[in-house]
């Protein structure tokens, strides 16, 4: 399963690669990274990550926010699943995410065990 992780923090790559190292080693999943909303859209457009089925995106990013990215992905690639990850657990972000069709909404710090279960359930 190919997963695209979108976050403006570069260390997220290191973190996810270590958190999912067993799954990566066993080739159960493949991780792709984009460090902005625009970079994520570009990657999807270039079909670099054509096998991507799930996008894990931060909400609070400079430039295009995770909410905007979610809206665009759902408009162009309706089959893709999108989980939003955020440190801001306020009602506005949650309601907007649900309205734009987010498939899940997780608050940071991320509970990786729960995330893995959700990914397996897809």
């Amino acid at each position: 399963m190919h997963i695209l992780v979108v976050d403006d923090e570069h260390d997220v790559q290191l973190l996810f690669e270590q958190r999912f190292r067993r799954e990566l080693r066993a080739a159960q999943i493949a991780l792709h990274f984009a460090f902005s909303g625009q970079a994520a859209l570009d990657a999807l457009k270039r079909q670099e990550a054509e096998e991507v089925v799930l996008i894990l995106s931060d909400i609070n990013m400079p430039g295009m926010s995770g909410l905007e990215l979610l809206k665009r992905i759902k408009a162009c690639y309706a089959h893709l699943k999108v989980f939003l990850l955020t440190a801001y657990s306020d009602a506005y972000n949650y309601d907007t995410a649900m309205q734009y069709g987010a498939d899940d909404y997780l608050t940071k710090p991320i509970d990786f065990a729960a995330l893995k279960r959700k990914i397996q359930a897809l």
Binding site: L15, Q18, R19, A87, Y88, K108, P109
Partner: protein, 470 residues
């Protein structure tokens, strides 16, 4: 107007000479109400003609008029044998002492300064009418010479006229003086009132500024808390990962034990154990910092909170820690013993935890402040003590926070919950803590908040609220 107020000899003819129609009408109405028969002329020439025609008992004339002014008309009256006995009252502002001389020269009988009240006007008319004496026409022998404002004047008026005019001038002066004095007293009172209002405004302004600062500090805190949260997440996450990796390393090492000589293996195992321990500490403290950041976020949040089952004893313990460390951070030389007796059966209540926590913190901070103040007064002989009790009352629970500070005088006990009331020096308190606390406990949670205090001995806040609130 009642009949008694009518002057003797009513139906007295009075001629008003006044070029302002409004002034004339007002004066006419006043005089008519008191039984005088009033006619009005609109300038000096018309006035003179009417005087000649109807010989009124009294003339009241304005001074400044177009054409023939009041002085000129008066002179004409007094020059005329047939008219000179008709008394003339001139309306003036008496802004210049020379007005008196001009009036004397013109032969006026009396002055009336504007503005005048009805009572004064009537008494003056009465005076003029009752003291009316025929003019002799012959002035003082040789007249009187006087210097006024650098000018030489010669007064040829008769004694009666001079006396009348001077008395009316003096009366005016006395009256004006009296009015000025009462105006001055009024001004002084108003001034004191204004100063008090200004003082209150300054106090309010200080409070508003303090609130603004507090609000911006709250926003800043929320911002900082969010910013700290992200790196903190990385710290805990990587620490947890390192812990897992160290476990794997430990397992791998155990499998490969045969490759090492025993001493080296033991060294490696020791190092690994220490690393594991350190990483665990990093995780632990990272999580602790995260809890603090969470607390900061909850405190700075303005919106209405959500009710959730909350362990009240745990909340109290956290707030006691927070208040204690907050105080120690401000003054490390000061210490206090905190005697905590939490009833383990208190359990949880359905409350907005950050709001209830705010109440606890407020009261704890006040208690610490009180013992701190007393400690500064009494020195080392005083043992600052705080006691915190929680009690299970069935479907309600009670929290008592008591300090052995200076107590609260009965006179101000009622004011404690008023917004902006504070006993702390300016800048130290907003005066909002207890008013917000009462709103939270009473309005939001249908609870009660009471004070028990003895001056010089103690203050105790007793808070109760139901476990379930609507």
């Amino acid at each position: 107007m009642t009949a008694q107020q009518r002057p003797p000899g009513s139906e007295v003819d009075i001629l008003i000479v006044e070029d302002s129609a409004i002034q004339a009408t007002l004066l006419k109405r006043t005089l008519a109400q008191h039984g005088y028969a009033v006619t009005v002329a609109k300038d000096g020439a018309e006035g003179l003609a009417m005087i000649r025609a109807q010989k009124p008992a009294l003339v009241i004339s304005d001074i400044e008029m177009r054409g023939m002014d009041g002085y000129a008309m008066c002179r004409e009256i007094k020059r005329d044998e047939a008219l000179r006995d008709i008394p003339v009252i001139l309306l003036t502002s008496l802004s210049d002492p020379e007005d008196i001389v001009r009036g004397l020269h013109a032969g006026a009988d009396n002055y009336l300064t504007k503005p005048y009240d009805d009572q004064y006007l009537l008494s003056r008319i009465n005076y003029v009418l009752t003291n009316r004496q025929p003019r002799t026409g012959d002035g003082e022998q040789g007249g009187i010479a006087l210097h006024l404002a650098g000018k030489r004047h010669r007064i040829d008026s008769d004694r009666q006229q001079i006396l009348d005019l001077l008395i009316s001038t003096f009366e005016n002066a006395v009256r004006q003086n009296r009015e000025l004095r009462s105006a001055q007293l009024e001004l002084r009172a108003k001034n004191a009132e204004l100063e008090e209002t200004l003082r209150q405004l300054h106090t309010m302004q200080d409070q508003v500024i303090a609130q603004e600062k507090l609000a911006s500090l709250g926003a800043l805190t929320a911002g900082i808390a969010h910013e700290i949260r992200n790196p903190l997440n990385f710290v805990t996450n990587f620490a947890e990962l390192s812990n897992e990796l160290l476990h794997e390393l430990h397992d791998d090492l155990a499998e490969q034990q045969a490759l090492f000589d025993p001493e080296t293996f033991e060294d490696l195992a020791d190092l690994l154990a220490s690393l594991q321990q350190n990483v665990q500490k990093i995780t632990e403290h990272g999580k602790r910092a995260d809890r603090i950041v969470n607390g900061m976020l909850q405190h700075s949040r303005g919106q209405a909170g959500v009710r959730q089952p909350t362990d009240i004893n745990l909340l109290l313990s956290e707030d006691i820690d927070l208040a204690y460390h907050g105080m120690r951070a401000q003054d490390t030389s000061f210490n206090v013993s905190i005697d905590t007796l939490l009833d383990p059966t208190v359990g949880s209540a359905n409350v907005v935890s950050q709001d209830i926590s705010r109440v606890f913190l407020n009261i704890l901070n006040n208690a610490l402040y009180a013992v701190h103040v007393k400690h500064k007064e009494l020195g080392e002989g005083f043992r600052p003590t705080l006691s915190v009790r929680s009690t299970n009352l069935g479907d309600r629970l009670e929290v008592r926070i008591r300090d052995n500070g200076n107590g609260i005088p009965p006179a101000i006990r009622d004011k404690l919950f008023q917004p902006f009331f504070t006993t702390k020096p300016t800048g130290s308190g907003t005066g909002l803590g207890l008013s917000i606390s009462r709103d939270i406990v009473v309005q939001e949670h249908q609870g009660t908040i009471e004070i028990d205090s003895e001056v010089g001995q103690y203050t105790e806040f007793i808070i109760t609220f139901p476990r379930q609130t609507s």
